[in-house]
Subunit: 321 residues, 2 copies
């Protein structure tokens, strides 16, 4: 059970499965590649929302009720900032703020985002390796009917109201994949690559847009298993379903699966959803995918790892144990 | 009563008298020149402790018990920062942090410290004009037996424990006085220049070290009145008395007065202190100088303004009303 697992994750949904995986395998066996396409500069601070979601989930600091940020959070800073006429459309909790201030300071001292993330994880006692997809800036932007919007402008300030017509990942073409990311995907000890139940368009595809990462996944020795972010035609959280409709896609787990065709060996849809039509070179399976508590996370992680053990790379005959 | 008043202030003690003056004259008639020698960069933030003390006092946001920072403060940020392995020797409250983040961001956008201070004062409804002594960096440093220390290292991290042998204000020689500072001191409508009860060595002398400011005070048309920071041989707050002893000075209000000889027309010592020996060209008067509440602040302000009305510039015959 010590063979390595690599998970690709966006924000909150992905972070839940990452947490489950961290309970299912030794910390040293798990590497998480995290989307940085929704990173941004705000109030002079470098904010990495998806890294923070993963880190807080792994450190046991995530707020379960709110669904983002830190537990036992307070909002005195935001309150004072409003009083000073500061920009207050992006909520920054008092505890959460420590992460942004500390990260920003360390980046300003010349460290890479990878180095800073590793340091902060170590301080929080996280043994899992959390890697930004790249140390270069990649910025997700969405085209609405009124033009291109920075992701957080769309996502937070405009609360996903604009219809999304197109997406782009500014900087991706020239971004260098974080070296450990590629090494982890190429490891001969790899047991599984897991695409977490994150938004395909703004969480996982920015990762796949970084040159070398998609190819490394395609060339990996281990099976690639994706978990649906869509259950019953709805996103568990966030704008994935709304985006699919706006982009002219069917809003279903099957449509997500088809989007991953050629990349993913096993697609896990929720047991409450009907099995979609067959997809060439992809195994479609059902499992309980809704993660309401830690047990759900661990159970889904075990399901995913069992599927990895029972699968071969695309096109190959499956082995069943 | 609409003639102008200029006050020179350091931190908490000075801010109290500034607050008193703001209650005694119209806001538009009061200009405060604030020490920035103890400004520093910390956690990537530009922190201006004395400006903040003055601003919080004028905005009614200062914490009366603690003696620094904001009232109703919380410390979740500091707690989280410790958890991340961040530098936690300088206490930053959650509300206070908004000031530093907002200031830093605006400075990074290219505004001067004066502009940012004016904006933040406006947001807080402060009508008094609060001016940094200079928009250029001046940094107070103290020489201890183990070498030169940055001021906040000495003042906060080492809690004023090292004996002070010498002081210097790095950058002062080439700093340009904030233009409105000089204009305010040269105003023909000036009624009084008040040296607040701040530490002479690290609060007022950095202001006086900025080229042009001392000369503008010397050349001003209005009397210069200083209020003692030493009562009964002790500083009301802070290391002034300890510093005087370490610098080989007598620890007394009289010694402070002698330090201001040639600059100050009227020196106000506390009514509990014995009148020192005469000082040429300086009038020595007693008043209640300890400010425990708002009434005390207002009463001392009225005393100072009355002394201004009853005094002429150095060497001239006094008029009494």
């Amino acid at each position: 059970m010590s063979a390595r697992v690599v998970a690709l994750s966006g924000g909150v949904g992905g972070a839940k499965l990452v947490h489950g995986l961290s309970l299912a395998v030794p910390a040293s066996a798990l590497t998480v590649i995290v989307n940085t396409g929704d990173d941004f500069e705000h109030l002079g601070l470098h904010i990495s929302p998806d890294i923070d979601s993963v880190v807080y989930a792994l450190a046991g600091l995530a707020d379960a009720q709110r669904g983002w940020g830190r537990a036992e959070e307070s909002w005195q800073f935001m309150h004072a900032l409003k009083g000073l006429g500061g920009a207050h459309w992006f909520q920054l909790g008092d505890r959460d703020l420590a992460m942004h201030v500390e990260r920003t300071q360390r980046l300003a001292q010349g460290r890479t985002l990878s180095e800073v993330t590793a340091q902060l994880c170590a301080a929080l006692g996280i043994g899992v390796r959390v890697l930004p997809m790249s140390d270069d800036a990649v910025r997700t932007q969405v085209r609405s009917d009124s033009g291109w919007l920075d992701f957080q402008d769309y996502f937070v300030r405009q609360q996903c109201r604009p219809a999304v017509r197109e997406l782009r990942f500014a900087g991706a073409a020239s971004a260098r994949a974080q070296p450990e990311v590629l090494a982890a995907l190429r490891s001969p000890e790899l047991r599984a690559i897991v695409l977490c139940p994150s938004n395909p368009f703004v969480s996982l595809e920015p990762i796949l847009a970084v040159p070398g990462i998609r190819a490394a996944i395609m060339g990996a020795s281990a099976p690639v298993i994706a978990v649906t972010p869509i259950i019953g035609g709805q996103a568990v959280k966030g704008p994935a379903a709304k985006m699919m409709a706006e982009l002219g896609l069917e809003v279903s787990a099957g449509a997500v699966a088809r989007r991953y065709q050629g990349l993913v060996d096993v697609f896990v849809l929720d047991s409450s959803d009907a099995m979609p039509a067959e997809i060439a070179r992809m195994r479609l399976v059902q499992a309980r995918t809704l993660m309401k508590n830690t047990d759900d996370r661990l159970q889904l992680a075990h399901s995913v790892l069992a599927l990895a053990n029972g699968s071969r790379r695309r096109g190959h005959a499956e082995t069943r144990r």
